[in-house]
Amino acid sequence: MQRFTSFQSKIVPLSAENVDTDQIIPARFLKVTDKTGLGESLFCDWRYNADGSPKEDFVLNQPEMKGRQVLLAGDNFGCGSSREHAPWALTGYGFRAVVSTSFADIFRNNSLKNGLLPVVVDKDTHAQLFSIMEEDPHATVSVDLETQTLTLPDGRAVTFPIDAFSKACLLNGVDEIGYVQGMTDKIEAFEAAHQK
């Protein structure tokens, strides 16, 4: 995995709560056998009409949203199916962080393994970000994983939580599977002692 570096970006606001992974990437796109190419289909049924033309009122189709790397999402983002195709589609599109008040557990795990940072903020900050977006749709935030801070357009820095292990893995581009493979002795000892 690539190292996660700090970055600045404008925001794509998507206020809906409980956005499930079926909306992020509908099941008919799960027939792929690799991880690439799903960005085009991100939020497909909200983003495109039946004839494939873009739905003008969907946020990702507004021309100024192009290239933005932070998604500002509603509470309990990524609920439902465990499909890792959801973070593959989000990163394939170009997102590097999702900001919300909470994330579904499996989605959160899957995101961390794909260099997509789930940034949990409190309700007040969350509401403030949406009102900032209303006042200035081009407002920019900074995401710094090293200091675990999200810096708002007014300069206020908000700390976000992340466990030390996931943080180290993201910052150093650690291959978690390689890390566990390094514990083969312990796994073998456990297997020898563990009755089925």
């Binding site: 709560e17 991880k35 499909r83 909470s102 499996i106 292990f165 978690e176």
Partner: protein
């Protein structure tokens, strides 16, 4: 380990920690890894890139369920991408020495992964069980810790038989009281999710307790645990008891002879100790429950079948009001309208929630000697080839077909609508599955989630029907 009382979850967790460094997730050993065709190709490709094979193929079992057709299996698969995924799983299992219950190999035991695990006796109390599928929570019905994982984690388990996991909190979901006629396990879990919401279990593992749970059959317990994820919890568990042991005994992969006696003795220590503490507790009164139905676009948008659709104007919280408005707009429903009598286009009886033999028996009992409503499409999709065979032994297939329903081969089918079994845009379905998300059963399709009894009753009338009026 101290002598303080432990919960069922803690006992299983503690028994599977291989390593635990400070400030790091635990390295958790996985006893049973179930694999299906849709979330595994990239994981096997990862192994190939690393130049390794599955570490414990003897603890890994695969099936095909999500993308396979449910029509006659001797016909070719018309979807090239689905066919490719199926071929890849066959190749990956072959290369790694993994037992496959597919549409060619061991086809008599193929089925939905969460139906066949228990059916084959692979699922046993005290185990850690994972699968690249969120409904792996189903296996918790046996007093196992079962949870869904992503494809990167599938690769990790294939490579190491372990997962890196942060210890979740525990929530006691206590259900007391007796269900009234026409009310089922499905209504209990829909009732809990409607009451507490789809995010209530985030960060927690549910343990279902209470006398209503104790009285349940294993199949009812599986239905409850299956939908833990719809309440936000990755895993839902039920302490094993004699009902559990009787169900597991004699199955293909269950321990035999003295090993069985030793296993049962061990399993009897699993239930939560008196005085053990949960991080949170929620409750539901089974006595007060009616048949449930969802009206919206997440499983928490549910109500008693006799209730009326809620009015967004009465919802105080702005974002919840917006969510309800958006859901009603998608469902094309009006505030305060009843759902009873609402016209249906499709009835789907199936999925890992409700496709077991008891579900089919319940539906068949209502449909016997009757006809489904003209113009209504009714699909009955058994959860596994073995369920299908058992149903046919009992003549249930004849009941369904004589009533005018379609009798299909086993698979996920219209629950996830990847295989061509799907709603047309705008259609309404009553479905025994677990998700009513926008487009879940086909782009533009609209889903009412309910029990097999409610689905079967509605199949006869062509409209949303309270089964209690037919009993």
């Amino acid at each position: 380990m101290t002598n303080r009382p432990h919960t069922l979850f803690e006992k299983i967790w503690n028994a599977h920690v291989v390593a635990q460094a400070p400030d790091s997730p635990a390295v958790l050993y996985i006893d049973l890894h179930l694999v299906h065709e849709v979330t595994s190709p990239q994981a096997f490709e990862g192994l190939r890139r690393r130049g390794i094979k599955a570490r414990r193929p003897d603890r890994t079992f695969a099936t095909m369920d999500h993308g396979i057709p449910t029509y006659d299996r001797s016909l070719p698969i018309v979807d090239d991408m689905a066919a490719k995924q199926i071929a890849m799983l066959e190749r990956n299992c072959e290369e790694n020495g993994i037992a496959l219950y597919g549409i060619k190999q061991n086809a008599d035991k193929q089925g939905i992964v969460h139906v066949i695990g228990p059916e084959l006796g692979l699922t046993q109390p005290g185990m850690t069980i994972v699968c690249g599928d969120s409904h792996t929570a189903t296996h918790g019905a046996f007093g196992a810790l079962g949870f869904g994982i992503g494809t990167s984690e599938v690769e990790m388990v294939l490579a190491t038989q372990c997962l890196l996991q942060r210890k979740p909190k525990t929530m006691n979901v206590r259900i007391d009281g007796a269900l009234r006629p026409g009310v089922t396990a499905k209504d209990i879990i829909l009732g809990i999710i409607a009451k507490y919401g789809v995010g209530a279990g985030t960060g927690y593992v549910f343990e279902y307790t209470g006398d209503a749970i104790r009285r349940m059959t294993m199949e009812e317990r599986m239905t409850i645990c299956n939908m833990s994820i719809e309440g936000g919890s990755r895993a839902g568990m039920i302490a094993p008891d004699d009902t559990t042991f009787a169900w597991v005994a004699g199955r293909e992969f269950a321990p035999k002879g003295s090993a069985w006696d030793e296993a049962v003795a061990r399993w009897r220590n699993l239930p939560t100790d008196d005085g053990a503490e949960y991080d949170a507790t929620i409750t539901l009164d089974a006595d007060a429950l009616e048949p449930m139905i969802t009206y919206g676009t997440n499983p928490g948008m549910g109500m008693h079948i006799t209730d009326r659709v809620p009015d967004p104007a009465q919802v105080g919280d702005l974002s919840q009001r917006n969510a309800l408005q958006k859901a009603l707009s998608y469902m094309d429903l009006q505030p305060n309208q009843p759902l009873l009598g609402h016209k249906l286009d499709v009835v789907f009886i199936g999925s890992c929630t409700n496709s077991r033999i008891s579900d089919l028996r319940q539906a068949a009992a209502l449909l016997k000697g009757r006809k489904v409503k003209d113009g209504l499409r009714v699909m009955v999709v058994p959860g596994s080839a073995q369920v299908k065979k058992q149903a046919e032994r009992e003549g249930l297939h004849e009941v369904f077909m004589a009533a005018g329903a379609e009798w299909r081969e086993a698979g996920c089918s219209m629950c996830i609508a990847m295989n061509g079994d799907q709603l047309e845009p705008g259609q309404y379905a009553i479905s025994t599955s677990n998700r009513n998300f926008e487009g879940r059963q086909g782009k533009g399709g609209r889903t009412f989630l309910a029990s097999p009894l409610t689905a079967a009753a509605s199949a006869l009338t062509g409209v949303v029907t309270d089964v209690r009026t037919m009993m």
